[in-house]
């Protein structure tokens, strides 16, 4: 390529990269009074709640998530007990105090009539509470919510934490604690509705009527799907025969979870209910119903939300910036190495690295399930290291070729030819690891794996195509091409 052509192409590429860099990484005020602000792509990309950067509304970032303490019936917090006691009249205070017994150094209070058997906690309460905790754990696990946790506190309360990125945390705390049997009623209103599943005195349970209850989202519409057995299908078909404007109520314990309007007979093996669900809410409702189907019992001890608080990001509020700084330090170290070892050829590596980083930032912003978190930043960094290693490998092969006496153009061509399969193998193997892991793994690991997969794809393309192209268009400016790359010929001893 001639000098003029190279200059034009290089200028255009520099402008495009500079503009994309600004768009991706640099936020700035658009006017003097600071009212209008340009937010970079990196700024608006969804952040992992654990990094302290989850976006709420338009502009407010909060990290962490929410923690609720769930109390079973008959258990109240020490604070509620003290508040209730002080709010009672003097004559009621003694009666109120008599109703409760202090537990765990006054952290909680147990209602004697409901919870205690004499002075000890009754075995049936212990058993029911333990069963409720197991069901709760199963529900949280099945929802696959990243960084959610369940802890038993003071033996008889449960602390549940959900990340801020889980958008229906408030409803989830309420729903997760609902225990009891899955029942279905049919009627014109809630009061007069009759239980049709399980049929009275039949000895059957909800499991005999429903094979499974699951959620599905397709084309933007989310459904809760009831897969019914023959008994289930027959029971609903029989109840809804001739119905014009009635309702089916799906209960867990005493609380209705779904109210379905029925205007004609329902006689099908799978019942799809869409309503106003989104992906998260349909999965939540399906999980609650399905666990009630398999583990629900009449004795189920429901847990209700007592206290609720907002948590800070698990890694600290500054974790996101610290991670950016770490990423910057590693990238800077890589650039320093390239400029020191390969002189101005380091610019080719710089351009390549910027193209890679821009591509990755755009992917994380554009792909729905990717968030900027420890996993994704690590994967981007891993891709950047692989890209640096590949670029260094290509330069070293070219250096060797040049040293043997070839022209610079032929040395570059020959060097790339020799290391092509090394670079290809490295990237294809890591991309395979990433994509295979993504298809099987869950939560943070799947985000890391997918980011690694696309990172390897872009690193490979950048190393084999962008880097070589940048080298090609930068070379014509150098008077001494060997000096441009800090390459040397092999010194050959002359025979006397």
């Amino acid at each position: 390529m001639g000098k003029v052509k190279s200059a034009i192409v290089l200028t255009l590429i520099t402008i495009v990269i500079a503009v994309l860099c600004v768009v991706c990484f640099v936020p700035f005020p658009c006017d003097g009074n600071g009212l209008n602000y340009f937010n970079s792509i990196l700024g608006i990309a969804e952040k992992d709640a654990e990094l302290g950067g989850y976006l709420i509304g338009e502009t407010d970032y909060v990290g962490g998530g929410y923690t609720a303490v769930l109390y079973p019936e008959g258990v109240i917090s020490g604070r509620d007990y003290e508040n209730d006691l002080s709010a009672s009249s003097e004559e009621d205070q003694a009666e109120y105090a008599e109703k409760y017994s202090s537990y765990s150094n006054g952290a909680i209070y147990l209602e004697k009539e409901t919870v205690l058997d004499g002075t000890e906690v009754s075995e049936s309460f212990k058993e029911n509470f333990s069963h409720s905790v197991e069901v709760l754990k199963e529900r949280v696990e099945r929802l696959h919510i990243s960084s959610a946790s369940v802890n038993v506190v003071d033996d008889y309360t449960v602390e549940v934490s959900l990340p801020a990125s889980y958008e229906i945390s408030g409803a989830a705390f309420d729903y997760l604690g609902r225990m009891g049997e899955l029942t279905v009623s049919f009627g014109s209103d809630e009061e007069s509705a009759e239980v049709i599943i399980p049929e009275a005195r039949s000895g059957l349970t909800a499991e005999d009527y429903f094979k499974s209850i699951s959620a599905r989202t397709s084309a933007g519409v989310s459904y809760v799907i009831f897969n019914m057995t023959d008994e289930g299908r027959a029971a609903i078909a029989e109840a809804t025969d001739g119905a014009t404007s009635s309702y089916l109520y799906f209960y867990v314990g005493d609380e209705p979870l779904i109210t379905l309007t029925v205007s004609e007979q329902i006689d099908q093996s799978s019942l799809y209910i869409s309503g106003s669900y989104d992906k998260q809410s349909s999965e939540l409702v399906a999980t609650i119903l399905d666990t009630a189907r398999t583990s629900g019992s009449e004795e189920g001890l429901s847990l209700s939300v007592g206290t609720l608080r907002r948590d800070h990001a698990a890694y600290g509020d500054s974790a996101q910036w610290m991670l950016y700084i770490a990423l910057g330090v590693v990238l800077l170290a890589s650039l320093v190495y390239f400029f020191v070892r390969y002189s101005r050829l380091g610019f080719a590596h710089l351009y390549t690295m910027l193209v890679y980083l821009i591509a990755m930032t755009l992917c994380i912003w554009a792909i729905d399930f990717l968030t900027l978190g420890v996993g994704s930043v690590l994967a981007v960094l891993f891709g950047a290291v692989t890209l640096s290693v590949s670029d260094a490998m290509a330069y070293e092969y070219a250096r060797k070729e040049y040293a043997t006496g070839k022209t610079m153009t032929f040395a570059v061509k020959s060097g790339y030819k020799k290391c092509f399969f090394h670079i290809f193998d490295l990237h294809i193997v890591l991309a395979a690891v990433g994509f295979i892991t993504y298809f099987i793994a869950l939560t943070e690991l799947s985000v890391f794996a997918f980011t690694l997969g696309i990172g390897m794809f872009f690193a490979g393309v950048c190393s084999l195509a962008v880097n070589r192209f940048c080298w090609y268009i930068m070379m014509p400016f150098a008077k001494d091409k060997a000096k441009f790359c800090r390459f040397k010929r092999e010194e050959v001893e002359e025979d006397d």
């Binding site: 765990s104 369940v150 945390s169 193998d425 869950l442």
Partner: protein, 333 residues
């Protein structure tokens, strides 16, 4: 006869080194397990209302708590920054704030009760009209969700098998077999060293380090394979026996492998040094699987590969001699 570093005679020595570390790790694991940090402990949580926060007394609350703990000679393991309490229905802030200190399980209830009294009386006397509530909660170890863990393990196992098959097709099955031995060796040795060094880790972190060992081990071995393949193309290597060829080849390939290991080490150290404490606790121990992979690919791998190389060489020699039945018959005629 020239002595080579990579000799089959040294295999028992390196196998013994690995075996000793492995046995020590198994014994320590059987006795103490991994040094897993659970969430179990005692929470000392102080909830206060707007009266204190309006007076900007949040910092004072922490000062009072921490000086009280010092005077009682107890120290907390972690502190949850001041967080706002929320309304259950709307998730709006209700004006109360909570700061929580987590203590180890062995801190006595009496000491914490005494701390509670002191903090309560100090704060109520300093902030008249405030509502301060202090509770000491006993927190059990958190629930462990196994599905993400076993699916992650299956995912990495499948990915490792695919990569080894790829290595088989590209570089020969001898190197696949060596890679398999190294991956298993690295995973076991990493877990053993984790048990020996007693590095404090999160409940599922040992599995994460085992996974890291698989990935690092595969990458480093892949780099060795690439360099070996390239070097063995040199006609000079065709006349060498396996030990000599591998030793000569490793002189060049170890340098490249060393660069890759150094690059990864720099990344882990920088991330560990700069990043937040939670991130640091993950990255710095990653040097353990990296060190194990460095040892296995630079020292153990080439020696384990020697018998496979001999078999490969023998098979190549046979193929080279074989001229086909028809050609042999024609030659006889």
């Amino acid at each position: 006869m020239t002595k080579h570093f990579y000799s089959l005679k040294k295999l028992p020595l390196f196998a013994a080194i690995s075996a000793v570390i492995l046995i020590a790790g198994i014994v320590l694991y059987a006795l103490f397990g991994f040094n897993v940090e659970t969430c179990a402990g005692k929470d000392f949580s102080v909830t206060y209302d707007a009266v204190i926060s309006i007076a900007e007394g949040g910092d004072r609350v922490e000062e009072v708590c921490e000086s009280t703990f010092d005077s009682l000679g107890i120290s907390y393991e972690s502190k949850t920054e001041i967080s706002s309490d929320l309304d259950n229905a709307s998730l709006a802030e209700n004006g109360d704030y909570t700061v929580t200190y987590t203590f180890a399980e062995d801190v006595s209830n009496e000491t914490l009760a005494s701390a509670k009294e002191t903090v309560e009386s100090t704060l109520t006397s300093e902030f008249a009209g405030s509502d301060v509530y202090i509770a000491v909660h006993e927190v059990d170890a958190g629930a462990r969700f196994y599905e993400p863990v076993w699916r992650g393990a299956v995912a990495l196992a499948v990915a490792a098998i695919v990569v080894l098959v790829y290595i088989g097709f590209r570089f020969g099955w001898g190197r696949t077999l060596t890679g398999l031995v190294l991956v298993v060796h690295d995973v076991l040795l990493t877990l053993a060293l984790l048990a020996i060094t007693r590095i404090p880790v999160a409940p599922f972190a040992p599995l994460a380090f085992a996974a890291a060992a698989v990935v690092i081990s595969l990458i480093v071995w892949l780099v060795q394979c690439m360099k070996m393949r390239e070097t063995f193309k040199d006609p000079a290597f065709r006349t060498m026996d396996a030990e000599e060829a591998v030793s000569e080849c490793c002189k060049a390939s170890n340098k490249t492998t060393g660069y890759v290991i150094a690059a990864l080490a720099v990344v882990f150290i920088v991330l560990g040094a700069v990043a937040a404490p939670g991130v640091r606790a993950f990255f710095l121990p990653l040097l353990l699987p990296l060190a194990v992979s460095a040892y296995s690919s630079l020292v153990l791998g080439p020696i384990v590969y020697l018998p496979m190389k001999r078999m490969d060489d023998r098979s190549s020699a046979k193929k080279a001699r074989y001229v086909g039945k028809k050609k042999a018959e024609q030659a006889e005629e």
